[in-house]
Symmetry: C2
Subunit: 211 residues, 2 copies
DNA sequence: CGCGTCATTGATGTGCATCAAGTGGTGTGG
DNA sequence: CCACACCACTTGATGCACATCAATGACGCG
């Protein structure tokens, strides 16, 4: 895989990796740091479309018409590797299965977004927040972090924008979960106290495929 | 492209093309007929994740872990072509750009789902229905159908499931749009009377990228 | 016709948004 | 070191959009 890495790039907190409308030049593998993607609505407000962490891929949206359709912003100081699709294609005859790997990454993205659609379409707000938290700790744990402690890299506003609810509602739900003893919340520091109860509170969706 | 078509298959109305959990064998290009994709929630209810029409591709969700994660059901008698990804890969050295074409299709799917997420996360229900209608006629028009007349292939229930609202709300919004003179609704026959007003009623989202 | 499915319409309830005020942590300048 | 401002966040009061519950209507089919 190192063969297709063209450039490394460091970003400072709040620096933008690419903007909506930028020419697509290739994908980005996150080596360190935490990102958000968002799109700008007409009225100037932004809607967060996803959060990405080390080990994940950014930029798949730009392949379609060679332009990006969202903004990608680092929420922490971060480092990424540029991957050129051309290089991947070039190496394909040699590295059988690499092409297939790209398909898998894209398919996973499609499936994941279907899960978010499901969540937005049919969960109540408390279920969305718990699903969000559980998804976050699972992905972090997959990369070696704690499965009970999270330090959120995003504001309540960004969480709300992603989950389709207002900042006040996010806040109220955090306090409610705290009152029920499921989590301990202190600023952006979240301690998962009762993962079983959390999963139950996601309700009929606890069966959502883990990824 | 004909080279990668392995099999044609005819389906009757309400017949299932693939189920959740089925082994992934390849993609399907819709030649005729109208499909829905859905996933089953724990309690047995279903959530519709998309509608597909001739010229579109089904099955991208199955690439990730070689199993499908949703059901695809024909809403009309339909015909599809099976496309084997292996065959595509096999032909890749010969047909340069075909691989890239697959990437584009997958990227478009990712971008489209981001739009649905946006819609579910930040539109009110009247905006969702109008956005849904406009999206439908645009896609149909792209395939040679009228841009003012639609015959819905799905029930109100399925529309509601897709848009994240209840059947009664869907119904009320259709009558409201009719009262405002934007559309004429007769059962599943929809006549777009005032596309300009419809687009305005989508509000700040009229700028959503057309695809 | 009588039944089943799908859709419409009305009455009522509730979850979340909205509006508004207050808290606490952090940084800055006097 | 404190006063002040600023920001992210919390908390409370009120309103509205949509869900829920219930009844009725329209169409197709045996």
């Amino acid at each position: 895989m190192d063969e297709v890495v063209t450039v490394r790039r460091k970003l400072m907190r709040y620096e933008t990796l690419f903007h909506t409308g930028d020419d697509f030049t290739g994908l980005y593998a996150i080596r360190s740091g935490f990102f958000k993607t968002s799109t700008c609505l007409e009225n100037g407000r932004e809607q967060v479309t996803g959060f990405q962490m080390p080990g994940e891929i950014l930029g798949l949206d730009g392949i379609f018409d060679a332009h990006h359709t969202c903004n990608a912003v680092a929420l922490q100081d971060a480092e990424v590797c540029s991957l050129s699709l051309d290089r991947i294609a070039e190496f394909f005859p040699l590295v059988t299965g690499l092409q297939h790997h790209v398909h898998k990454i894209m398919s996973r993205e499609i499936v994941r977004e279907q899960d978010v659609m499901l969540m937005l379409g049919s969960m109540r707000s408390e279920e969305r927040v718990t699903a969000f938290l559980l998804n976050l700790v699972r992905r972090l744990h997959a990369h070696g972090f704690s499965r009970t402690e999270v330090i959120l890299q995003m504001t309540r506003e960004e969480i709300g924008s992603y989950l389709g609810m207002k900042i006040e509602t996010v806040s109220r739900i955090f306090t409610r979960l705290m009152e029920q003893g499921m989590v301990a919340v202190n600023q952006r520091h979240i301690h998962i106290l009762d993962p079983v109860a959390l999963r139950q509170s996601v309700g009929q969706f606890e069966g959502l495929r883990a990824r």
